[in-house]
């Protein structure tokens, strides 16, 4: 029964992804309503499960990679629902839902039993550190999506192809702003997440900074985004350039979050 419950959000996000992709490719506006409804129901189940697991373990279920991915997926959907409510850009769902679904799918692929944290890792900074970094990753993913949409819309405008997608995609200005806002929300989240992580490390091991691959890659990503914000404010890295940068930055996030986690030994190794 419980297993089934955990599969429900996955099922609904899958359905949402399918309908959003249909909406992307064929002309039928009502599809977006169906997709939104399905996604909304999945999100309610997902929220319920997260609460359940938090109550069960006494902390946010972020102690393993599976939990982090599930929380990431939840954050993506939450952000999407908020953006949909504000801007009514249905096509955003066609980009975000597949990503949220895939991350929840990979969450299901990793072991997700609740482990009590190793006593030496347990500190109040733990929850803050993981929550902030995952939410930061959500923001950078939105920036990535906005960048992708920008490049598509720009290409349509430049090549003068006024097809369905042209009508469904919002204005370049809005997409560029979405990119900018996401980065300016993601960057402080990541910064605070890193600080909380350092304090956590200080609590547990007595050293705030240790040279390990994950920390190094995270710092590189952090510097990249810092450079990106700086570039926008001073020399006007906006539009196409900002879109490309958001995509590259997202690659860095995925690399740090996933690859380093799986391949490199160290305190960030969840499984």
């Amino acid at each position: 029964m419980e297993i089934l419950l955990y599969k429900l959000p996955l099922l609904f996000y899958f359905a949402g992804t399918v309908v959003y992709l249909l909406f992307f490719s064929i002309k039928k506006d009502s599809l977006s309503n169906i997709a939104l409804g399905v996604t909304g129901i999945g999100f309610l189940f997902h929220t319920f499960i997260l609460i359940l697991r938090t109550v069960e373990s006494g902390h946010l279920p972020l102690s393993n990679l599976s939990g982090a991915l599930s929380f990431f997926s939840w954050g993506m959907i939450l952000t999407y629902l908020v953006l949909e409510y504000w801007y009514r850009i249905h096509i955003l769902g066609s980009f975000i839902l597949p990503l949220a679904f895939l991350s929840l799918l990979s969450a299901a692929a990793f072991p997700n039993e609740i482990r009590s944290l190793q006593p030496d890792l347990n500190s109040s900074w733990f929850g803050i550190h993981t929550t902030l970094t995952v939410l930061g990753a959500v923001a950078f993913t939105i920036a990535f999506v906005a960048g992708m949409m920008y490049l598509i819309q720009e290409k349509l405008l430049k090549s003068k192809r006024f097809n369905r997608l042209y009508y469904k995609l919002p204005s370049l200005d809005l997409l560029d702003h979405l990119n900018q806002w996401s980065i300016s929300v993601g960057f402080p989240l990541l910064t605070l997440g890193i600080l909380a992580g350092a304090l956590w490390a200080g609590d547990v091991w007595g050293a705030y900074w240790v040279w390990d691959p994950q920390r190094i890659f995270t710092s590189v990503t952090w510097l990249f985004y810092l450079g990106m914000i700086h570039g926008r404010l001073t020399v006007g890295w906006r539009g196409r350039k900002a879109a490309y940068l958001a995509i590259i930055g997202f690659m860095g996030v995925v690399f740090t979050f996933f690859i380093v986690n799986l391949l490199v030994e160290g305190p960030h190794r969840f499984i």
Binding site: K158, K160, F162, Y166, S171, L172, D173, V235, G236, R240
Partner: protein, 459 residues
Amino acid sequence: MNIILVGLNHKTAPVEIREKFSFPEASIGTFLTQLVTSPLISEGLILSTCNRVEIYAITENAPECFDYLSRFIYENQKYHDNISFDQLTRHLYFYSSTDAVSHIFRVSSSLDSMVVGETQISGQIKEAFDYAMINKATGVILNKLFKKAISVAKRIRSQTKISENSVSVSYAAVGLAKKIFGDLTGKTVLLVGAGEMAELAARNLVNNGVKNVLVTNRNYQRAVELAREFNGISVKFDEIGVELAEADIVICSTGAPYYVINSDMVENAVGRRKNRPIFLVDISVPRNIDPKINTLGNVFLYDIDDLQAVVEANLKERQKEAEKAELIIAEEVETMDRWLKSLNVVPTIIAIREKVEAIRKSEVDKTISKWQRELSEEEVGAIENLSQNIINKILHFPLSALKAEAHLSGGSEVIETTRKLFDLAEEKQPSQDPEAPPAGTAESPEEPISRSRDSRENQ
């Protein structure tokens, strides 16, 4: 009782015909008064725009009324020498009952317009309706019909995107600009050359929030004049390069046979703009902006053919929306039809009650006069009550069934059958023309619902 209409529009008649038969706005009141003096017509309305002349009427005798309305349009002809009545009827279309309802809904929501999605027509309908009301030409049915037509148009505009994408070339630039800048509030437009089309495009941009207008022209005096019109600033023609950095939108339409704006100028401007996008429209032929610049980052260049392509794409998009609108109309026609049918059932019910009551009264009177001496006043009262109760109880079932059935399709047949069963006269029907619809029916299969003689083939 039937809604009918006779008219001609841009699809059935060329402008040479339409202009002869349009009703001048100034004297429309006189025409309306004259229209409803006919005993054939209980309500009437005249809709006359540059693309159509239509007369709506409520009548009991559709065929005669079709002729009357055709004559009415014919007699309004200016320059009488030109066109015979037969020639005119070739351009006319005739609709009745649900087809008429469907037609006015399609007209009001611009599905019947030259440009699908235009919004002017619903205002014109409102005006025509106001005139008809002021002149007391309309009544319960046309009032309901036209209020409904106006609200259907509103519903379609809000529930479909039929009016969303612009379909005029001068307006297409606004749509494109919105896809780039989102909101145009506070943006700056630079007009290079002072052609009429550029001016029109600029006006549309200003109406959509563009704040600053810069104007430049080889003839500086003309630039100053145009700038004054827009409350803008005139710029010397050889300073275009400098001003490009200020402009979010550039509209170019000079008569020059060479590129007035070249790649270097734009590249330079984009750099100074810190990569804020720049949107250039070149509506001059030969072109005045080097087409190469479209390859630059954050630069979007469109020539006159590109704008035409936008218009065509927008038209296609509207066509798709029009299909949705047709569904809404079908739904609304049904609602209206149900209301009309419920109107029809009321006189029948009254007639049945009157008839039965007359029978009861005569039978009761006969009995009472026969037994007059033996019957006390109380007993007379009891007989009255008894007979009253019996007819009420008996009539209860057929009448409630009739009320319920009248709303359904085939309701008119039920009403007709009921009238036959109770042997009710086809009242309120002046002639017994076999082609005429029976009184109280909204629709019958034999009736020429749209006698659009050959007008539609002529399109």
